[in-house]
Symmetry: C2
Subunit: 349 residues, 2 copies
């Protein structure tokens, strides 16, 4: 897992879903009443905030419009204003599954450094890990949160914390009651080849195979493949004349693409038609995007032809559901994929 997180630091594996690893990141490093800075990038950022508040943390939540990554300038301003260094952690979601927008993690790190602020940087990579380029060490992240059911291609039930020496040192002053999530217990047991309690054994076998698949393809190739899917999908969406939920091209996600439904049409009614007629389940709009957005996932064990099939399902569904659109989305995607394949071919001598 260290290779996937791109870290030489510590990685622990929990028998829990991703929400558990969110909680683990906070309870290992913080105390009740501590201030944390979070950024409203979408539904998952909102859920993480709710979790932090239930853990008796004081959350400053930078508002956002759910159409781009975290507002780095706002983060920097908050940190600069926090002369007393009361903020203990900055928490961002790398890939917002609810919108298809990516937060620029190195930019957040640079903002923290410019502010000369000692807050820990925590990043949720539950839906990006193993799909998008990610570098825990190089980007100066203190705690990275991951899960099994997205880029690692497994059922849900495993989750991860990668954490820096600085984060580990924070456990000494952190008074949040903890046991199941305690890093120190995990590290002590792992060092002897064991876990402190029963692990999710069968998922660990699956994880070994998932990692073998990722390393066989090569992580840079995996990331390039997802980038290709993202670009091909966006070309299809534009060809249909529909709007991409992520409004900031620099923040486009290669994991999924959120698509805005034309005014007066229900995204959920459209999704039902696609499910019934094409046997394909598209992601729903979450939270404030409910009924207004549908999501095209293109992550994990997925190839060009699976993407073409997926886009064909969307295009046919738009026609069947009577949603105003232009044809030509699948054509646009295929054109891009052909170009990409030509460039990837070895040159003739």
């Amino acid at each position: 897992m260290k290779r996937v997180f791109a870290t030489e630091a510590n990685v622990v594996i929990y028998p829990a879903s991703g929400t558990g690893a969110w909680e683990a990141a906070l309870v290992n490093t913080l105390s009740p009443g501590d201030r944390v800075l979070m950024a409203e990038t979408g539904q998952f950022a909102a859920l993480w905030r709710k979790l932090a508040e239930r853990l008796q943390l004081a959350v400053e939540f930078i508002p956002g419009d759910w159409r781009r990554g975290a507002d780095v300038a706002a983060i920097e301003a908050k940190l600069v204003a926090d002369k007393a260094h009361a903020i203990r952690a900055v928490c961002v979601v790398h890939n917002e599954t609810s919108t298809g927008a990516v937060t620029n993690v190195p930019a957040v790190r640079a903002a923290i450094d410019r502010a000369g602020h000692p807050a820990l940087l925590m990043v949720d990579t539950i839906s990006s890990l193993g799909s998008l380029d990610y570098r825990h060490d190089e980007w100066g992240v203190d705690v990275t949160i991951g899960g099994s059911q997205k880029g690692l291609m497994l059922p849900p039930g495993l989750s991860f914390n990668a954490f820096s020496a600085k984060a580990l040192a924070a456990t000494d002053r952190a008074t949040m009651p903890r046991s199941y999530w305690d890093w120190r217990e995990m590290l002590a047991s792992n060092a002897t080849g064991y876990f402190p309690y029963t692990p999710a054994t069968n998922l660990l076998y699956g994880l070994a195979e998932a990692l073998a698949m990722l390393f066989e393809e090569g992580l840079p190739n995996v990331y390039a493949r997802h980038d290709r899917f993202g670009e091909a999908t966006r070309r299809a969406v534009r060809a249909w004349g529909l709007e991409i939920q992520c409004a900031e091209p620099a923040d486009y996600s290669s994991v999924l693409t959120g698509v805005v439904m034309p005014e007066g049409h229900s995204a959920d009614a459209f999704r039902r038609v696609v499910l019934e007629r094409c046997d394909m389940s598209l992601g729903q709009g979450l939270g404030r995007l409910s009924g207004k957005v549908f999501r095209i996932g293109h992550l994990g064990w997925f190839n060009d032809l699976m993407l073409c099939g997926t886009l064909a399902g969307v295009e046919m569904g738009l026609a069947l559901a009577g949603v105003p659109h232009r044809k030509g989305g699948v054509d646009a995607a295929m054109g891009y994929l052909v170009d990409a394949a030509r460039h990837a071919l070895p040159r003739a001598a």
Copy 2:
């Protein structure tokens, strides 16, 4: 799951192993600094104590010799002495997996009632649920903790809390920070057919099938089958001239039988011989019983012939490892199983 717990009260399912459900029972009902009463019945009671102490609870631990269930008279004495009712919970392990001794839960309930004490009664049934008769409601238990990987015949990764209205009411004054384990969030989401976060989906499919298997056989028949395995195994152990770890016949476990190695012989060396020569993995002695005890498991999806094969492996292993013993253990078990089968046959007219 309510049928398996024998309750009309609430049951929640966590994507976590059993230790997580231990933690859930405590963090939903207690506050840091609260006193809890626990009984040293073996390694799992000791681990639960350690977890409670990490959660900043003040544990009174009634000592025990790891050869019987919880000392009910000592529990009663502690509660009677606690005039201020400072003790918030009494926590016992139903089936001690490390020893093969069962705690008499109705007797613990009666002791609490005789003392007129308001403490919550919490019971770990991780290794007994679905194998031993258990009655959450009838026995007046407040929180029952269960896991997927024993009597429910699944991989580890799911765990359970069944809890009374009294336990649920205790959440209001309990100040332990909690989110992942929070019963109220679980109940609110479950009421709409959902979970508050990603569940361990594939294990839920397995659980549906495990429950179908248990209900097809009938829970009373499942419990009677395990009782038969326990008695047959103990007859084999006595025929070998070896000692049963559980020293109190009323507390014998029908889930597993701990066997004491003769002085001067290593249980682990014996277990290695059985593994290498017979391809069978016996349970090791845990904690203070390390090297001194081996454990014969007879739970879950298991029948008379599998038990005979298991006992044959032990008997041949004793011979191969040069452990002093008498032959005849398998014979003794078969004799008992034949009698049991005859009694189960319908009478001729």
